[in-house]
Amino acid sequence: MLPDFIFAAKIVMVILSLTIFFCLYRAIFGPTVYDRIIAINVVSTKVVVMLALLAVIFNEAFFFTLSLVYALLLYLTTLAFVKFLGTGRLD
């Protein structure tokens, strides 16, 4: 009995979707704005993993490129938020 990687990828996608909903609780009801940024950071990291799993499920390699673009955007958005909150401007 060999493990089926695509079935495991589907199970992992379901678990990650559920944990994204629990993170959105903190993003909506978070007491400070920093909690919201942290929660959205975690959600975006999970979305990067889910895009890579989608490539496995659909058997298409270009989702990996999509995942790389989303990872770059995640890093840039978080730093832009922090800079805007810290200094009040983005230049």
Binding site: F5, F22, R26, I38, T45, A52, L53, L68, A71, L79
Partner: protein, 113 residues
């Protein structure tokens, strides 16, 4: 590549993505349960970085048996997020500290003069 090698890589991949999912679930529990933004940022970065790396290296173990040249971009993503994730979490928490966000009442501080 022989059939044994392919089955070995795919089995290692399944184990690695489930271990990564465990780290993600632990990070989510920490984000919901922890009392202040410092603890939440700490536990989110601690759970995120190994979870991300384990999941994507597990997917790399699978995709290296399908097409090796296409799977190299996964290593690029892992190498990027290895630096990006701690830097972004650290910048959030440093801003938190400069803005004098209150610590939880259970926290005891020992600052250097």
């Amino acid at each position: 590549m022989g059939t044994l090698w392919i089955h070995l890589m795919r089995s290692i991949g399944v184990i690695m993505i489930f271990c990564g999912t465990f780290f993600f679930v632990a990070a989510t529990v920490g984000i919901i349960r922890m009392p202040d933004p410092y603890n939440r940022g700490h536990v989110s970065c601690k759970g995120d970085s190994p979870g991300f790396m384990l999941c994507l290296l597990g997917i790399w173990c699978y995709w290296a048996t399908v097409c090796f040249s296409e799977s190299l971009i996964l290593l690029v993503i892992v190498a990027f997020m290895l630096f990006a994730n701690p830097i972004s979490t650290h910048s959030i928490l440093r801003l938190c500290y400069y803005r004098r966000v209150e610590f939880s009442s259970d926290t005891s501080l020992q600052e250097e003069k």
